[in-house]
Symmetry: C2
Subunit: 112 residues, 2 copies
DNA sequence: TCCTAATGCATCAAATACTTATGTGTAAAA
DNA sequence: TTTTACACATAAGTATTTGATGCATTAGGA
C-alpha cells in the first residue's frame, strides 16, 4: 500500500484495542481481523505480530491460554487488569495523535 | 509526551506539507512551526530533522538555498516540481492512514 | 561581567520497530 | 499432488528516530 510505514509505532495499540473489543483472540485471528477491518490496507506480518504479543505478555498486559483445536495449536491472548488500563491510555494517546496529525496536514478541516 | 513514537514514519510528510504551505523554510524554523502548531506536543529533534532534510534533497524533492542573515547561516529549503507531486501523494496516503486508524481504534465514530 | 538561553547548522552511537526470509507442522482445496 | 490456508516462531537486515555531542553567533538576565 505504500503507506505501511505510517503504521509504525501503532501495532501495540491496535492489538490492545482488538482485545478490548473481542475479549480473547489468537495471533492468526488478529491478522485476519485487521486485514478485514482495513479492507486489506494493513497487513500485520507474523514477524511483527508475534514479537509484539510476546512483549505485551512479558510486560504483564496480556495473559496467554494455550488451546488445541483439532490438531492445531492456538494461543489465546486476553487483557490483564493492567492491560486494560494501558489500553485506555494508549487509545487516548492515539486519539490525541490523530487529532494533532489531522491538524498538521489539513489545518482548515480541523478545529482550533 | 509519550506518544512521540506514533509520529514515527510521518516526519517526511510533515516537512513536505509545511513547505507546501510556506513555500520556503529553514530547519530551525520548521521545528518551531511544528512545536507551535501542535501546542508543544510534537518536538522535532535536530537528529531527526537534518538527516530527513538531506535525504529529501538527495531524492530531488527539495532544493536548498543558503542565506546569511546577520552573521548566521541559514539553509532555506523549498519544494521542487517532483517534490510537489510527492507531497500530494504523501498527503493522500496520510489522509488514508488517518481514516483507517480512526476506524480501527474508534469504529463507532467513523464512516463505513 | 558572566552565564544561560536562543538561534542555527551538523554528526553519530544506540535504541526501536519493523520487513523479509526462513523454519516447523497440520489440514483443506485445486 | 502441489498449492493455499492455518498456526506458531525466530532472526538478519533495514529504516527511522532519540539522545548526546559539537561548533558558532547573539541576546538577555543576574
Amino acid at each position: 500500500m505504500g503507506n505501511q510505514k505510517l503504521f509504525k509505532g501503532s501495532l501495540q495499540t491496535i492489538i490492545l484495542k482488538l482485545l478490548e473489543t473481542n475479549d480473547k483472540m489468537y495471533g492468526y485471528e488478529i491478522t485476519q481481523h485487521v486485514k478485514a477491518l482495513t479492507n486489506g490496507e494493513l497487513k500485520i506480518t507474523e514477524g511483527a505480530l508475534y514479537p509484539a504479543l510476546h512483549k505485551l505478555e512479558a510486560d504483564g498486559l496480556l495473559d496467554v491460554e494455550v488451546a488445541k483445536v483439532g490438531n492445531r495449536l492456538r494461543k489465546y491472548y486476553k487483557l490483564t487488569e493492567i492491560g486494560s488500563k494501558e489500553t485506555a491510555n494508549k487509545l487516548a494517546e492515539m486519539q490525541e495523535f490523530l487529532k494533532t496529525m489531522q491538524h498538521l496536514v489539513n489545518p482548515k478541516f480541523s478545529s482550533e
